[in-house]
Every structure is written in structure tokens, then in C-alpha cells.
């Protein structure tokens, strides 16, 4: 057995120190696998990857909930939670330990199921939400050689399991036997389905240019540098528009503000998870945030170059550090958007999806094709940017035309 471990060290010995830190987790995993008998190796490999994902991303979720509350608080000119440290000790953390009592609270609250509710479906809904969301992490490349399973049709797998989340939303809303839950669930499903189309269409442009559905290939296609700047797709006109569309659509897919009409507290109590309390509510909350991280991870892979660094003199930073940094940066942008923009009404939401984002995504596909076939000089930048900007103006005008803006009309109750 020790000679197998020797073999693993041999394959890694010739790497430089920077590469060794970069491949640290890969090396650790192969070390553990070398100490395991041959027949059990696939199982142990899968268990290790799953344990790492289950440890890291809920940890990021806990930190992000704190940053969200403090961040939104500061933008709204107030402190967020600023007292909780680590419980039962005297360590003061100025509010950064808030997730511990939050977790304990949701675990120990009473689990109330309405009497007329459909018990089996009510029980299964949080599980059906959590499983596809965790499955989606299996295809994301977190670092160099650090994908759990690199399917041939990886992007299709991601969107397929993303579509399964809508079913759990319906199960939650219908089984609660509550008309507000059902209404919230219907609205949430309509919103998710409508925004899935711009999401997938903006990902199609990247697939078109790369020529493969494997996420590892998509990252590798962005991994080269000109004048020190990486060839991320967000630095091209069609990639920039695609990235913006992807971000807006992923805000809508995770039911985050300003698209959180189905679950906002001042609108419909809590929408489809009104009747959930205690641990099931915590599972829904966790599932929603994990879904947000997964879709941000996909956006990073498609448009922001995955685990590559933006400038060529910073490539010594390990690849997984870049991935997590980009993810946290986009999460901060999401928190900022949530604290700043007002909520969209349901019809405004659907208008935005079908009448603005879908045509713009289709124009984006055409522009990506033009970009690919034009000669590689400055003219294609001009042509592509002009086409996209023209389409944006036309569609924006079309959206604004239906608004009746004018003097405010007061209506009093008679």
C-alpha cells in the first residue's frame, strides 16, 4: 500500500510549488484513494467529492446570510446584527456568529403541519427541492482538474436538474392546502419557467462559440491571455450582454429581489412556504441559497472564465480561490441589487422576460454568430456592439411604450 502512495507522490513531485498548492485537493484525494482497496475506489471517490461539496457550500451559505443581513442593513443606514459572537463563550464577533443561533432556532422550532394538508407531499417537497440543487454542483469545475463528474453533456445536465426544482415549488404550494400558498406557487412556477428561456438562450451563445457542452472545455477555451488580459467571454460584446441576461435570469430563477413577488413577506406572507416551519423551512431556505450559488457558479464558468485569473500576472493564486472569490463577488452584487431595487409586479416581470429578454437573447445569438465569422480585427467589435445596442434601444422603447406615466390620479373610497 505504501508503494501506491509513493506512486501518487511521484506524479506530483515535478510540479512547482504554485501548482502543488493549486492541485492540493486533487493530491489529497488521490492519496486517500491509494490507501483504499481497488473495489471500493469509485465509491470512496464519490463520497469524498460529495463530502467536500456538502461541507463547503452550506458553509458559504451560512456566511452569506450574515453578510446579507449586515450588508442590507448598512445600505439601509442601520446596523445589521452586531452582537452575537460564539454562543456559550465570551468570544465577541460583532454579529458574525448569527448563523449559529439561527440554525439552532430553525432546528428546534415546532414542526407544524396543517390538518388538511397532504402529509406525504408536504413532507417530500423540501427534499425534492434540495436534491436537484445539490446534484447541480456535480458538473461545475471548481478548479483545475476539480470537477466531480465531467459529463459529455454537462450543461444540459445542469439545466435539466434546474428544471426539477419547479416541481418541488408546486408540491409545496399545493400540499399546504392554503390558497395563498397555491397562488404563490403558481406565480413562482410561471416566473421560473419564463426566465428559464433567456437563461438557456444566453448559455447557448457560449456553447456555439466553444463547440462543446462540457463545462471543462468551456473553461479551457477562456484560459489564454492577450496583452495580459484573459479571453473571458464577458469581455466580448455578445458575452457582456449574455452575462447581463444570465445574471438577471438567475436572479429570477432563485426568486431573489427584485423578482421575489412569489415569496415576499409584504406581498403574500411567504408564498409557497407559508405553512412550513422549523427544519423544513430551513431546508427550503438552504435550497434556495444553494440554488443561487449553483447558478452563479455556472455563470462564472460560462462567462467569467471559471477558475482562471483575469490577468496573466496573477495566475499564481490557486484556481479554487479564484472561483470562490468570483462567486462571493457576484453574491455581493446580488445583495446590493436586493437592497436597492424595488420589487417588480407580476405582469411587469413577465413582460420583461417575454418581450425584452427573449428577443434580446435571440439577437445575441445572431451577433455571436457574426462575431465568430468576421475577421479578427476591430471592425467586428463595432458591428456587433452596434447591432446589440440597436436591438436594446428598440426593445427598451417597446417596453416603455405601454407605461402610462403621468400625473398621479387619486382615487378615494366612496
Amino acid at each position: 500500500m505504501s508503494d501506491k502512495i509513493q506512486q501518487v507522490f511521484e506524479t506530483f513531485k515535478h510540479l512547482s510549488l504554485v501548482d502543488k498548492i493549486d492541485q492540493l485537493f486533487v493530491m489529497l484525494k488521490q492519496l486517500v484513494l491509494a490507501g483504499v482497496p481497488e473495489a471500493l475506489q469509485p465509491l470512496v471517490s464519490a463520497l469524498l467529492s460529495v463530502t467536500l461539496i456538502l461541507a463547503v457550500f452550506p458553509g458559504i451559505f451560512a456566511i452569506v446570510t450574515i453578510f446579507e443581513r449586515k450588508g442590507i442593513g448598512r445600505i439601509q443606514n442601520r446596523y445589521g446584527p452586531n452582537r452575537v459572537g460564539i454562543p456559550f463563550t465570551k468570544i465577541r464577533l460583532c454579529g458574525f456568529g448569527q448563523f449559529i443561533p439561527d440554525g439552532i432556532k430553525s432546528l428546534t422550532k415546532e414542526d407544524i403541519v396543517p390538518r388538511a394538508a397532504d402529509k406525504i407531499v408536504h413532507f417530500l417537497a423540501p427534499i425534492v427541492m434540495l436534491i436537484p440543487v445539490l446534484l447541480a454542483y456535480a458538473v461545475l469545475p471548481f478548479g483545475r482538474n476539480m470537477t466531480v463528474s465531467d459529463f459529455d453533456a454537462g450543461l444540459l445536465f445542469f439545466f435539466a436538474v434546474g428544471g426539477a426544482v419547479e416541481l418541488s415549488v408546486f408540491m409545496a404550494g399545493w400540499s399546504s392546502h392554503n390558497k395563498y400558498s397555491l397562488l404563490g406557487a403558481m406565480r413562482a412556477i410561471a416566473q421560473m419557467i419564463s426566465y428559464e428561456i433567456p437563461l438557456i438562450l444566453s448559455a447557448v451563445t457560449v456553447v456555439m462559440i466553444v463547440g462543446s457542452l462540457k463545462l471543462v472545455d468551456i473553461v479551457a477555451a477562456q484560459n489564454y491571455y492577450t496583452f495580459g488580459i484573459a479571453h473571458w467571454y464577458v469581455f466580448t460584446p455578445w458575452g457582456f450582454v449574455g452575462f447581463i441576461l444570465f445574471i438577471i435570469a438567475s436572479l429570477a430563477e432563485s426568486n431573489r429581489s427584485p423578482f421575489d413577488l412569489p415569496e415576499a413577506e409584504s406581498e403574500i406572507i411567504a408564498g409557497y412556504f407559508t405553512e412550513y416551519s422549523g427544519f423544513k423551512f430551513a431546508l427550503f431556505f438552504l435550497g434556495e441559497y444553494l440554488g443561487m450559488f449553483a447558478i452563479i457558479g455556472l455563470g462564472i464558468t460560462l462567462f467569467l472564465g471559471g477558475w482562471t485569473s483575469p490577468v496573466s500576472f496573477l495566475t499564481w493564486i490557486p484556481s479554487y480561490v479564484w472561483f470562490v472569490t468570483k462567486m462571493i463577488a457576484i453574491v455581493f452584487v446580488f445583495i446590493w441589487i436586493r437592497a436597492t431595487l424595488p420589487r417588480l409586479r407580476m405582469d411587469q416581470l413577465m413582460n420583461l422576460a417575454w418581450k425584452f429578454m427573449l428577443p434580446l437573447a435571440l439577437v445575441n445569438i445572431v451577433v455571436a454568430g457574426i462575431w465568430h465569422f468576421m475577421s479578427h480585427d476591430w471592425q467586428r467589435w463595432l458591428v456587433c456592439a452596434a447591432i446589440i445596442f440597436g436591438a436594446y434601444l428598440v426593445l427598451g422603447r417597446g417596453l416603455m411604450r405601454n407605461q402610462k406615466l403621468g400625473k398621479r390620479i387619486y382615487r378615494y373610497a366612496e
Binding site: D118, A153, L156, G163, L167
Partner: protein, 174 residues
């Protein structure tokens, strides 16, 4: 846990879910059992090395058709458990004919000499091959499918559109 054992379990779950989808009283439960059937079928496709088809099955059937069926159940107010009979009159003939169909198909499968006997390896089909074929050899069916889906979408919207309120036959047959 040999692979054959897992395939048998998945096939059994699929068939059980299909049977309950057709025999449950509550329509929403039946729709959810149908979703389990679709997922089981996707697992069978993945077992048969058809990756693209398996993921497309989950995307289209579980993500879209199941949601359509559920929306239709709710829009026709059939979400509660019905208290009338659920089986059409003459249901025994239906079950008998289905049994006859299955017997004939099963007999044909088990005793046919046209089936290849040796176990061949999986054909190596990547997504790139599917994409190339869709653009070169199967481009006509691709365009026709695009046209068909557009026509189906427009047709479905027009059929299900609420008519502007007319003053006659508002109360139909009940």
C-alpha cells in the same frame, strides 16, 4: 450491487410508478407518480449509455410536460379527490385488451428470432456527433420540428385563450 440488480430495481420502480399514475384517485398524486416514471425512464436511458437523451428526457418531461399536466389539473379544478367513480363503464374490457397486448408483445419479444443474440458494446456517440448529424443529415427534420413546435405553441395559446365575453351559451352543458 451488480449493475443488473440496479437496473432491475429502477425498472421495477418505474413500472410501479406508472401503474400508480394510472390508478390513483387523486389527480395530483397521479401527476407526481408520472413524474417519478419519467425520472425512472431517464435513469434507464442513462444506464443504456444514452446520456444526451436521458438529460433531455429530464429537461423536457420532468421540467416541462409534468408542470403542464399539473397546471392543467389545477385550471380544470380537478385538484381534489373526486367522490364519483373514477373508472369509465366497460373498464374490464380495457384491462383485458391491455393484457392481451402485453401478452402478444411479450411472446413476440421472447420467442423472436430477429433479435440480435450477442451483446455488442455501446456505440460511441458523443454530443458532437449528435450536433453534426443534426446540422448535416437531419437538418430537415430539425427545421420541421422547429416549425411544428412554433405551430403547437401558437395553437395551444389560441385554443386556451379566454374568449371575449359573449352573451350566449355562457352556461354550457353540465
Amino acid at each position: 450491487m451488480s449493475p443488473a440488480f440496479i437496473i432491475i430495481i429502477i425498472a421495477f420502480v418505474t413500472l410501479l410508478a406508472a401503474a400508480s399514475a394510472m390508478s390513483l384517485r387523486n389527480l395530483v398524486h397521479s401527476a407526481l407518480a408520472l413524474t417519478i416514471t419519467f425520472a425512472g425512464l431517464a435513469a434507464l436511458y442513462l444506464n443504456l449509455d444514452a446520456q444526451f437523451v436521458g438529460f433531455a428526457q429530464i429537461l423536457v418531461y420532468v421540467g416541462a410536460v409534468a408542470i403542464l399536466i399539473v397546471f392543467a389539473i389545477l385550471l380544470t379544478r380537478s385538484g381534489d379527490t373526486p367522490n364519483q367513480a373514477v373508472l369509465a363503464p366497460g373498464w374490464t374490457y380495457g384491462i383485458a385488451i391491455a393484457a392481451v397486448v402485453f401478452t402478444m408483445l411479450g411472446w413476440a419479444v421472447l420467442n423472436s428470432s430477429a433479435l440480435p443474440k450477442e451483446n455488442s458494446s455501446a456505440p460511441a456517440v458523443t454530443v458532437k456527433n449528435i450536433g453534426d448529424a443534426l446540422m448535416s443529415k437531419y437538418v430537415l427534420p430539425l427545421e420541421i420540428i422547429g416549425l411544428l413546435l412554433t405551430a403547437a405553441m401558437i395553437g395551444a395559446v389560441i385554443i386556451a385563450l379566454k374568449e371575449p365575453s359573449k352573451t350566449d351559451n355562457a352556461g354550457g352543458k353540465s
